[in-house]
């Protein structure tokens, strides 16, 4: 194991810049490649991926059809795949049908589209109650569904992963695909909320 490094006098911001400069000068790092890595990891991951899938489905009927037919393939069209994404099924919400996703046995979650699961998804209260009293649970999350809305719950007990395609909110007809993305939360894509309405 290397010796413990001595502390430096220079602030960390300058040390980082210095390190980058030296490495670029030695030809070991291309700043453009560095930029690309930052952009990719900072922007192209987590629930943002799923939000992009949803926004595209809302604005492109052919994509929507492909997404519902073969979620894994359609999601991969946008470049999203990887661990816990071997088989993703997309569940379409309608005004009379609401879907809820859970993993009662551990916390299986569709990482390629939603990133890491949030605490509430892993909470024993959620895991225990989502399969027993979903309507009451959703009300506690702030989502009160009318009696005409049927609820379907999916317990992720195999390697199949589920993502909810929430309804497109009213009043968003004029918004572009890009403008729709921020309205889609991971709560909406798991089924404990609807997509946000435009401000």
């Amino acid at each position: 194991m290397s010796p413990i490094p001595a502390p430096s006098d220079q602030p960390v911001e300058l040390r980082t810049e210095a390190l980058e400069a030296l490495l670029v000068e030695k030809g070991l790092v291309d700043p453009a490649v560095l930029d690309k890595f930052i952009k990719t990891y900072a922007e192209d991951v987590g629930p943002l991926n799923g939000a992009k899938v949803v926004a595209k489905a809302w604005t492109d009927p052919d994509y929507r059809a492909r997404l519902l037919e073969d979620g894994t393939a359609a999601i991969a069209e946008l470049g999203f795949k990887g661990p816990q994404g071997e088989c993703i099924i997309v569940l379409e919400n309608t005004p009379t049908l609401h879907h809820l996703v859970v993993c009662t046995l551990c916390s299986c979650y569709p990482w390629p589209v939603l990133g890491l699961p949030p605490s509430w998804y892993k909470d024993p209260a959620y895991r225990a109650r989502a399969v027993r009293e979903p309507r009451a649970l959703l009300e506690e999350f702030g989502l009160a569904l009318g009696p005409e809305v049927e609820i379907k719950v999916y317990d992720s007990s195999s390697e199949v992963r589920y993502m909810v395609l929430p309804e497109r909110p009213a009043g968003t007809e004029g918004l572009s695909e890009e403008e729709l993305v921020p309205l889609v939360t991971r709560e909406a894509m798991t089924g404990v909320a609807k997509a946000k309405s435009p401000a």
């Binding site: 490094p5 430096s8 960390v12 300058l14 210095a18 390190l19 890595f37 990891y41 661990p83």
Partner: protein, 116 residues
């Protein structure tokens, strides 16, 4: 450009908000990108970096005080670069000292589109 599974489930995984990576300051993102780019260039094995990172985090936690994840990241990177003889700590400190002498506002690269 090889994307490591780091983005979701990486080693000593970076801070996030709601699943998204968070860089509290620009230097953090540069340190992040540096490690990625160097690894992509084949300079070190990712497992070696992770080991150093975990050790750096352990030292920081033992030392107490305010914890900065990306300081540990940078330290891990520097340790690897030191031991492989690529760029030693003294050179970095020296360059940092030179940069500290710049007039204010010049803390960015020169390949940009405004004159000075």
């Amino acid at each position: 450009m090889t994307l490591l599974p780091l983005d979701i489930d990486g080693p000593a995984a970076p801070p996030r908000t709601n699943g998204e990576l968070v860089f509290a300051a620009p230097w953090e993102s540069r340190a992040f990108g540096l490690a990625m780019a160097l690894h992509d260039g084949g300079l070190f094995e990712w497992e070696d970096f992770r080991r150093q990172l975990i050790a750096a985090v352990a030292r920081a936690e033992a030392a107490g005080g305010e914890f900065s994840y990306y300081r540990c990241w940078l330290e891990a990177l520097q340790t690897l670069l030191d031991s492989s003889g690529v760029v030693d700590r003294a050179s970095v400190d020296g360059r940092a000292a030179e940069l500290a002498c710049r007039p204010a506002g010049h803390d960015h690269r020169h390949d940009h589109d405004h004159p000075h």
